[in-house]
Symmetry: C2
Subunit: 552 residues, 2 copies
């Protein structure tokens, strides 16, 4: 027997309709390339989306076609976020930090027909244009200047919109139709695409408005610093539009100073981004104080959040940092560290420790831990296993794959590749990416935990830990350190002494394995490129080993 409730499809245009109807006066503010601020209301954005839908049809975009974007966070990018899926086509957000080979591979694999590009990003894309003969380009801000930079023949966004009428109706959409496509950074093998549906996008936006998740609401002024080309900017654009939150978009200006300015000027209340960004903003505020008293909550993820960062934001600016975890495959919000009532009754120090964990699985998703044999592990805070998740906004397989493949369990859960513990209170703590764990004397060392400890030294800006083969220990940890600007570079002995407060003696790196470097290489999504670091260590060792049988 079926229920007799409305068969109301959960779609991306339904998210936009709510903002247009209930919050037509709320603003979207975006910083332009020239640093000026562009302002529009949701009512205006809605009408531009209707015209953009018309433009897309006129350009021959058909349901199911993939349409690329190569752009920073801006109002125009937001318009594309809604117009493309509203016509039944698929929004494919291209990561502007990709290398040329990956970019070529992804555009071809997705079979993009049309790519919308920021004028300032044209130099990155233009060299590929000749090889992507099937693709047409639209420059978001001034095609004439785009042409000067190598994209001759590209169309101009505003000119197209000027000539378009508003579509009068939305096509009927099946909620399981594809709405978006995003490729993972793929530190192993080729990049893999995740094909979001309207339903998954809608449910993820709804979930992001829950108190126990991102808590986006009409009361907030939201600043997503996480890019709209990376995992849907963690879903903040959709959630802000759904709830009618004011949306502030930073454009290409992601340094500490312009972000601090933007928070002050637009009275941002809720901001989201990776730890590095919030370190930069903290430093900028130290150099030049500003009134950021409007800011109350900050969602931080992408890599483990150091305790020092959580503490500094709370103590200096009264901001609560909420740690969150997710992946492109999980839309991305998977868990977040909203403290339980029982935890809030604990002393400050223990609360902080809970905040530093990735948090509790959000309502809507389910989590479990698996050992190497597919057996489920206990939530005891000790058992270390691969985190597996399932739920309505988790990928079932990769774009173009007929079968789910190895990233999925036989009973249909997604294997995240992250190794974690879950404690009896449900707090998930990610120890490491599966391939980044270091196995020393038969025991695991978590590179993330060691990096977090090293960041406790005031002279450390960045810290990465990787393993190198070691005849005696199996693997030995190597600590890569970028010293902080202006501070005295830390001595290896000091760092090892600091780590000794948290790690056993056998886990510590040797003094020779503490390496002060000017930079740690990063992937296109800003994570440490540990694959490259490990390769360097192997090459060094290969060069040395034949002569003296290993370093000391």
């Amino acid at each position: 027997m079926y229920g007799q409730m409305m068969r109301y499809p959960l779609t991306v245009p339904a998210i936009l309709r709510r903002a247009a109807r209930v919050f037509p006066d709320k603003e979207v503010v975006s910083r332009r390339e020239d640093e000026g601020l562009a302002r529009a209301t949701y009512g205006e954005v809605y009408r531009r989306v209707l015209r953009l839908m018309h433009v897309l049809r006129e350009l021959g975009v058909r349901p199911g076609d993939r349409v690329g974007t190569f752009a920073w966070n801006s109002q125009r990018h937001l318009e594309l976020y809604f117009a493309i899926p509203s016509t039944g086509a698929v929004l494919h957000t291209l990561n502007v930090r990709l290398g040329r080979n990956e970019l070529r591979y992804i555009v071809r694999h997705a079979d993009d027909r049309l790519i919308f590009v920021d004028r300032c990003l044209v130099p990155l894309l233009a060299p590929l244009a000749a090889e992507l003969a099937r693709v047409r380009f639209v420059v978001l801000d001034d095609a004439r200047r785009g042409a000067e930079q190598g994209l001759g023949g590209a169309l101009d966004y505003e000119t197209l919109l000027d000539g378009a009428r508003e579509e009068e109706r939305f096509p009927e959409l099946d909620e399981n139709q594809a709405a978006g496509l995003c490729y993972t950074s793929g530190t192993t093998g080729e990049p893999k695409g995740v094909l979001y549906s309207h339903r998954s996008t809608y449910l993820h936006a709804m979930g992001s408005g829950m108190v126990d998740s991102m808590a986006v609401s009409q009361r907030e002024t939201v600043l997503p610093v996480v890019p709209m080309f990376h995992a849907n900017a963690w879903g903040f654009p959709h959630a802000a539009v759904f709830t009618g939150a004011k949306l502030v978009l930073p454009g290409p200006h992601l340094a500490g100073e312009p972000l601090a300015d933007l928070i002050e000027r637009e009275r941002v209340t809720l901001a989201a981004g990776v730890p590095t960004v919030w370190n930069l903003v903290l430093r900028s505020l130290q150099k030049k104080p500003r009134d950021v008293s409007s800011l109350q909550n900050m969602i931080v993820g992408g890599s483990a959040v150091p305790l020092a960062l959580i503490r500094a934001w709370k103590e200096r600016h009264g901001v609560t940092v909420t740690h969150a975890w997710g992946m492109t495959e999980t839309s991305p919000v998977g868990c977040c560290s909203r403290l339980r009532t029982a935890t809030l009754a604990l002393p400050e120090q223990e609360q902080l420790a809970a905040r530093a964990k990735q948090g509790i699985v959000v309502p809507g998703l389910e989590a479990r831990l698996e050992d190497g044999q597919g057996q489920e592990l206990a939530w005891d805070g000790k058992s270390l296993g691969e985190l597996c998740v399932r739920g309505p906004w988790v990928a079932a397989r990769y774009f173009g794959d007929e079968q789910p493949g190895e990233a999925f369990t036989p009973d249909g859960w997604f294997r995240t590749g992250d190794v974690a513990t879950i404690d009896p209170q449900g707090y998930i703590e990610i120890s490491d990416r599966k391939r980044d764990l270091i196995k020393s004397r038969g025991e695991w060392i978590s590179s993330l935990a060691m990096e977090g400890a090293a960041l406790g030294h005031a002279g450390v800006l960045e810290a990465a830990v990787t393993g190198r083969p070691d005849a005696l220990r199996g693997e030995a940890p190597v600590l890569w350190i970028v010293p902080a600007d202006g501070a005295r570079p830390p001595a290896p002995a000091e760092l090892v002494a600091l780590l000794a407060q948290r790690f056993e003696k056998w886990q510590l790196p040797k003094l020779d394995d503490v390496r002060l470097v000017a930079e740690i290489p990063k992937t296109s999504v800003g994570k440490f490129d540990k694959k490259l670091l490990r390769k360097r260590l192997l090459q060094e060792q290969a060069a040395v080993s034949p002569r003296d049988g290993g370093s000391t």
Copy 2:
């Protein structure tokens, strides 16, 4: 092209699994008939649900069968809320305040096979047992005592559970399968059933965890005073379990004093119920102060909330009263009065005025106003029209009906029967039930607005306004007043003078039309029975008119 996300069905057992997995230690506290408190954790409730599923199967309950409950808010009722739909059967909550004829009609219309009943409610149900020969009864607390009160042969809940093993797996459910059934009070015609699906229940629970809706979260201790036999207790049991909130259930003890005790004792933070209940609690607190400082938010609906109530809770106890509106047909949450940031910047008095409106349509639903010809009306705060809604937790037709019928528009929206305005900020204000509006001199008078104004008098406990036919005015308002205990009864002239502050002269009731009564008759869901009041007035007039042509 379809998205490649998990086909994860949105079902009632998935809601329960989250509480069992992530919040096994959180409590459900229920007040028993003997006033003692029963305590269990979600972990314990989960295992009892698994046994109850086994019991249901053993009793021959098959997918699609309707299983009735006739019970107050309690842990056992909560177990039924989850076990019945988890087996694929349909939870049918019977309103314990129904008259015998309605009850018989509804049990037969639903074709209930099994009814679970509170021992203290047996006397209401027993007289019908002989006429409902197909139905088996289970007494929730002590079948032996139930038998003494006329339900011989009834089974005993705890005995059944004691003899059951835990089901090992949940059956696979389609999210569109029926999960629940609830009949509307039906002040016109026969009662009508709304058949909820797993999907609608899940999405409603998710929506209830959103900041802009009920904002239920793991941080809260939730007390739903609204009965679980009425519109799913506004969805609070599902939302509390989904988010892991502590749940406090008052059993049959709904007077001011036991509720105030419960709030103090269990440190309730979020409570929900009709205005009358919160008036009773206020009065109880005045007589006997208690520490209710834990209470922060109160969701009030079911009838319009008087400003005086909102103000008293804020001023005396620091509690924010949030007005909400919904119907059995909308699962029920439709809108709630979370204030917009722009409103929060207004003076206190204007904020209060916004709080007294029913609020903004919640994320997930869409609202519009229609005139009598099906034309859409503007959101200008003035145009009065029928509120229509649509969304994934709104009924598409009534149980047993092949076609949607008159309560639905040709394009598939639900006609609520409520007449409302919507202002440019999106605040919906219900003026009246369509049939309760009074048309005087060709203009509408809102009975709800007049009732609210009359409640501003300290000597008024309850106020109802209905129309009576009037030769000159078409209809004239009649004000029914129940004086407050202990206060000086208000003089009709005083009341009319009070109304004159808000209403035009031609809208005011005549002095003869102000009627002080000991009680206003109510329907089974506790609303004023205006149908009966109107009938009384017509009878009076029929008795008088032939002689003198109308009252003065």
